[in-house]
């Protein structure tokens, strides 16, 4: 069975690119536009991995990670944070909140797949 990945990003073009890339590699993708939306879509579903942007309105990536780590079913789910090179301290903060790894933007589809394979096995 193919694995399901939840993405959270407020940029439509990034969302579309991420979904396109992941689906091409055989993953199921659920899209969400921010942290609040992501938490709603997470509820009661079996999610194998989360990819979230850092800067989002309503609830940002760090807050989202903290929330997810509080939910028993999703406590150990791998979470990838999309950051930018100038946000090194944010990377640390994300790590502390419980992010599994990160991808520095801008990234190429191959990089996204490589990291996904790395944390998802």
């Amino acid at each position: 069975m193919s694995k399901t990945i939840l993405t959270a990003d407020d940029s439509a073009s990034v969302r579309q690119m991420v979904t396109f890339t992941l689906k091409n590699s055989g993953y199921e993708v659920i899209e969400s536009i921010d942290g609040v939306d992501a938490l709603q879509k997470l509820e009661g579903k079996k999610i194998d991995m989360v990819i979230t942007d850092l800067n989002m309105p309503n609830m940002n990536g760090i807050e989202l990670i903290k929330e997810i780590r509080q939910i028993p079913e999703h406590k150990f789910v791998p979470i990838i944070l999309l950051t930018t090179e100038s946000q090194a301290e944010k990377k640390q903060e994300g790590k502390k909140a419980g992010a599994t790894g990160w991808i520095v933007k801008p990234f190429k589809p191959e990089q996204l797949i490589a990291v996904t394979k790395k944390v998802l096995g």
């Binding site: 940029s11 439509a12 073009s13 990034v14 579309q16 690119m17 396109f20 800067n55 780590r69 406590k75 150990f76 789910v77 791998p78 979470i79 930018t84 090179e85 100038s86 640390q92 790590k95 419980g98 992010a99 599994t100 790894g101 990160w102 933007k105 801008p106 990234f107 190429k108 589809p109 790395k118 944390v119 096995g121």
Partner: protein, 702 residues
């Protein structure tokens, strides 16, 4: 969805962001110190650059990169917002818009404009000549693979709370395994007692010894997400080059010392005891057993690598006369027989010393047997060239364009099997080329490529090798085969047969479907000879065909001829061997079953009627009638046939001895074997026996 759709979405988004930038700039003119506005501008530029890179707008990315850098500094209050900066940003904004409108415009004008703005922007950057010329610089340097292998020692001690970050350490270890040859040793000493365990914690840590030709950065990359909260220690132990020079593998104590698992005084203390260092260290509580085992694993790994590096230079092969090999196989066969006797005697005496020796000999003999058999193996690929030539020559003789595709060249078969396969394979290939592949003009009409393809392939299937010859020719029509078989008197008009059964008729003696006899094939002596040849190798032949699509003939052959697994059965006072490969199951035959069948030799096996042969009657062995006999159900081709015996004894490793010339043509017996007690058992050739019985019955019937 494709890349173009994606680019469209990006463009829409970029126009939005550009509008945002324009608006922000105009507001900034009034309040140049508003940090919120500056961040907004930065974020917009950042999104354009970030998304642009993903959708291959590389010119926009490179161009935006410099402005973004400037705004990064503005954000940090390192550059003030000036009128010049704002107007420059606005002209950059216009330029990006132009690039978006017409991404393929590479005119001189655009280029100049771009350079002009870029230079102006760079003048804002401190030490502006250092500004990165090209954003693509950040593209990762291709991983360098060299010929030099290095051995690394890696200690990976994860943070206890590793799991809560969603990390699976096993995946990281697997990733390391992909980089090179490795051994992994786990340290489990810090796992607490069951009552103290928190199942959400990771208590284990690992030592990995890795031999790789990748750079050390490849190893560091594996741990890239965990390097700040896990203890990762990567040490270079040695290079393969080192082995060329005088190289001694390190002593256990030295390795532990290197790793910091013990200190020098502990080592000294231990060495004085003159016992294996590892044992002492554990006993004295100076190191735990996992550390010792891990260090030992490293020692062995390095030694192994060293050995293989050296071996490369000396490994070679020698040519041996095949008679010598045949003799060797004979002798091993004798040895297996002798060993079986030894084991039986040892079992009877109950002498434990003797039993130990007998078991040792049994193990060695089995190993020797396997080794000897493997020496006789040849790859099937050695025959391919000959067949390629044959197909080419025959094809041009017949005016057909045919290529032979080969698969499974690495499949190994006993030398004798390969030699004896030659004639049957030539015959089958001829048939495929002559009858199978149509002439070019016919192929053209049926929309097939003019060039016909014959595929010869070999693959393993358990203790057998499957060799198949497949053509993409005309195939066979079950109807015309049946008609021909009726004409030739092979079957009767009202015979009810499945298509598959009908195809098997081509292997009957005196059958030929070719309309006219050519000098290549079609004399009707072909396929039955093939079948006999394969059966003499204890193999089977199967054919499937689809009209218009082609025909596939599959040969199933045993891996080796000299020794087989047999089923030892008893009939009266005599032992017989049935080849185990053909045996499907053994069931009981009671006197009641026989009476229920009213004199017909059939038995009901879970609703299926299976005919059987009474070996006792066939071999005219006199013994008293039993209430319960055994039926060994075998599968021959697509049929099931039972063989009735008095009792089934055991599986028996059978060394095949050929019968002397005088007995060579006895039907139903393929050879003999010597039993552990020195007596001789005959090996039943079930195919041959079945044919014999069929002939006898037909003769009776007629």
């Amino acid at each position: 969805m494709n890349l173009e759709d994606n680019q469209k979405v990006f463009k829409e988004e970029a126009y939005e962001k550009l509008a945002e930038i324009e608006e922000t700039m105009l507001e900034l003119e009034d309040s140049p110190d508003d940090s919120e506005l500056i961040s907004k501008a930065f974020r917009a530029l950042h999104t354009i650059k970030g998304s642009g890179a993903m959708f291959d707008f590389n010119d926009i990315v490179a161009f935006t990169h410099d402005i973004e850098n400037v705004y990064d500094l503005v954000r940090d209050n390192k550059i003030p917002v000036t009128k010049e900066l704002i107007s420059l940003t606005l002209s950059a904004h216009d330029h990006i818009k132009n690039m978006l409108d017409d991404p393929d415009n590479e005119s001189e004008e655009m280029f100049e404009k771009r350079n002009e703005i870029t230079n102006a922007i760079r003048s804002f950057l401190p030490g502006n000549n250092k500004a990165e010329d090209d954003v693509n610089l950040q593209a990762e340097v291709e991983e360098q693979l060299s010929d030099v292998y290095t051995i690394y020692r890696i200690r990976f001690k994860p943070d206890q709370e590793l799991f809560i970050t969603g990390t699976n350490p096993i995946l990281l270890l697997n990733e390391l395994r992909e980089i090179g040859e490795s051994v992994v040793a786990a340290h489990t000493d810090s796992i607490p007692n069951l009552k103290d365990i928190n199942p959400e914690f990771c208590y284990t840590y690992w030592d990995i010894i890795l031999r790789t030709n990748s750079e050390i950065s490849a190893i560091q990359d594996v741990f890239i997400f965990v390097d700040d909260n896990c203890e990762i220690d990567i040490q270079k132990i040695s290079k393969d080059d080192d082995f060329d020079i005088e190289f001694n593998e390190k002593k256990l104590g030295d390795i532990l010392l290197d790793r910091g698992d013990i200190d020098a005084s502990a080592l000294q203390q231990a060495l004085q005891k003159q016992l294996p260092v590892g044992e002492i260290l554990i006993k004295e509580g100076l190191a735990d057993s996992d550390s010792i085992n891990s260090a030992l694993a490293e020692q062995q790994f390095v030694k192994k690598i060293k050995d293989t590096v050296r071996k490369v230079e000396v490994s070679s092969s020698i040519r041996v006369a095949s008679e010598k090999l045949d003799k060797l196989v004979d002798l091993v066969g004798e040895l297996v027989t002798g060993q079986a006797r030894l084991s039986q005697i040892a079992n009877n005496t109950l002498n434990s010393d003797l039993l130990t020796v007998a078991e040792e000999i049994e193990r060695l003999t089995a190993e020797l047997r396997d080794n000897t058999m493997s020496v006789r193996m040849l790859t099937f690929g050695t025959t391919f060239n000959k067949f390629k030539r044959l197909v080419r020559d025959l094809g041009s003789d017949l005016g057909k364009e045919i290529i032979l595709k080969t698969e499974g060249a690495e499949t190994e078969l006993d030398k004798t099997v390969i030699e004896q396969l030659n004639d049957p394979l030539v015959h089958i290939l001829r048939n495929s080329i002559d009858h199978g592949i149509e002439p070019p003009e016919v192929r053209k009409m049926s929309n097939k490529p003019v060039q016909g393809t014959v595929t010869l392939s070999a693959k393993y299937s358990g203790a057998h090798v499957l060799i198949s010859i497949q053509d993409d020719g005309a195939g066979m029509k079950a109807e015309s085969i049946k008609k021909k078989a009726v004409d030739k008197g092979i079957i009767t008009q009202d015979a009810k047969m499945t298509d598959n059964e009908i195809f098997q008729l081509i292997f009957m003696p005196g059958f030929s479907t070719a309309e006219k006899v050519t000098n290549v094939s079609g004399r009707g002596v072909g396929m039955d000879v093939v079948k006999k040849g394969i059966e003499s190798l204890r193999g089977t032949v199967d054919v499937i065909s689809q009209p218009g699509k082609g025909t596939t003939i599959t040969l199933k052959l045993p891996l080796t001829l000299a020794i087989i697994d047999g089923l030892l059965v008893k009939i009266g006072p005599e032992n017989f061997i049935l080849p185990l490969a053909a045996v499907k199951e053994c069931i009981e035959l009671t006197r009641q079953d026989v009476e229920d069948a009213h004199g017909r030799h059939v038995i009901n096996v879970r609703g299926q009627i299976v005919p059987y042969i009474r070996l006792k009657d066939q071999f005219k062995i006199k013994s008293k009638k039993l209430d319960i006999e055994q039926v060994v159900i075998t599968e021959i081709g697509n049929y099931q046939i039972g063989f009735v015996v008095d009792s089934v004894i055991d599986q028996h490793q059978t060394v095949i001895k050929n019968l002397s010339k005088v007995y060579k043509n006895i039907d139903g017996i393929s050879g003999a074997t010597i039993m552990a007690d020195g007596t001789v058992s005959l090996i039943i050739d079930i195919n041959n026996l079945l044919r014999l019985v069929e002939h006898e019955n037909l003769a009776q019937y007629n």
